[in-house]
Structures are given as C-alpha cells and as structure tokens.
Subunit: 111 residues, 2 copies
DNA sequence: TACTAATATTAGCTACAGCTAATATTAGGT
DNA sequence: ACCTAATATTAGCTGTAGCTAATATTAGTA
C-alpha cells in the first residue's frame, strides 16, 4: 500500500492531524471526527485500523482504552517522494540548505 | 479538492513523477503509463485532465501536440501539510535548519 | 478539401472504499 | 458473578472513481 493511498481520505488525514498534536485515545479521536464528519464510532474505528495496518499509527493499551500515536515512517516516505519536485520551488538550493538536505538524506539510509 | 485526494491514485502519481523530469507531450505520457499500467489512451487523457483541473499540471499547445508540465503549487501544499509531523523525525531542528525553514515559510506567504 | 495524427470527450459499466447497524470482545468496577 | 464502558469486528449496502469503447475535435499535410 503506497503512503498516498492511505492519505487520500479526509477522515484518515484528520486523525493523523490530531495525533500529530500528541497521543490520543480512540474515544478522543471518535469524538473529534464524529463532530466534524458525522460518522459512527464504527467507521472511525475502521479507519484507525487501516492506519495501524498501514504503519501510520501505533496503539498501546491503557486499561480498557486504546492510546494511539503517530508512527512517522510512512510520512517520511511522502516527504521523500516530494524530493523530486522540490527543485521546482527551491530553484537554487543554496549551500546552507544543501548541507541540511544532505544530512537528511544520510539519516534516511541509516534508519 | 484536497491535494491528497488527487495524489491518492497511482496513475496520477506516475504521471507527476514523469513530469517531474521535465515537460512531456500527452503521447509520451500515454506511452509510459500504458506500458506500466495497461490502460487506454482515454483513461490517461482523463487523468491528465484531472491533474490540470486540480492545478497539478499545465498544458501548452505545440501543433497538434499538448505539452504538459508540473505546476508546483499543489505539491507545496503537501509539503506544508507535512510540517506538523516533521518534528517527529527531526527531533531537534538545529539552528541551521531552523533558518532554512524560516526562509521557506516566509517565501510561502509571499508567493 | 480530403486524410491522417494527436488528443480530448462522452456515455455507460463495475469493482470496491467507506459507510451503518448490529454484535463481539475486553477490562474494570461493585 | 454481573454490569457497564471502551473499543473492535463483521456482514451487507451504496455512491462513485476510474475504466472501456466509441466518437468528436483540432492541427497539420498532400
């Protein structure tokens, strides 16, 4: 599953945006998404599963609650994919930025 | 239409990857996509239209040919969206990178 | 002005993504 | 042991994204 296939859904994107601000329980996520999209708990739970299965989120149990967190790996894939277009809006990547970009690329191959 | 809704299709992504390497005629795009995905000229043309309409690509006429090019604006939206997650894989954005990031943000509000 | 090449458009079909309703699971409290 | 709260799972429905086949358009060419 390509990262973009997962991100091509507004509910899933919203969930990730929420998780970007920190960990949240399933119930929290349901509350927010339900308010904004008007869908059922079931639907949200299904989307959380898709995010888990695709490696965009991780869960840990806290009593009867499930605490979700973003898993950054798949999002970095998106960042990497964008590399081929960056030259278009950074016409001349100056020396400073080049250094930073190089460090970034290096880090990627390590992890 | 959110940028990710457009990118959530492998054919459209492939077309953009191709255009990232430079301008290409509709025919060129059709040839590549047809070879890799086995779909018709019609299908490719429809996807090109979607990319145009969504602002991901621009066209210019050259005789009977249509020359396509990437339009970077919508891809920068994706880049912007990722900002909220970058802290996850750049735990401590050092001074150098911060400067670069600041310049980037500034540029965005100008354009 | 007939013909061809390149591309776009349209109508109609179909698979499937994302939903609901119902039910199952699991942990904790009394 | 029973009950409730939190969450997950399943079966089944439905709208629509993306396709094909056919046709239209547009520009160049003999």
């Amino acid at each position: 599953m390509h990262a973009f296939d997962i991100l091509g859904d507004p509910v899933r994107r919203r969930i990730l945006e929420l998780l970007a601000t920190g960990e949240h329980s399933s119930g929290d996520v349901v509350a927010v998404v339900q308010r904004e999209f008007g869908i059922t708990q079931s639907a949200v739970s299904q989307q959380l599963r898709i995010l888990r299965d695709a490696g965009f989120a991780s869960v840990r149990a806290d009593g009867t609650r499930r605490i979700y967190a973003v898993e950054p790996g798949r999002l970095r894939e998106v960042d990497d994919w964008l590399d081929r277009f960056r030259a278009l809006w950074l016409p001349r990547l100056d020396a400073l930025a080049t250094e930073v970009a190089r460090g970034k690329r290096k880090r990627r191959h390590q992890n």
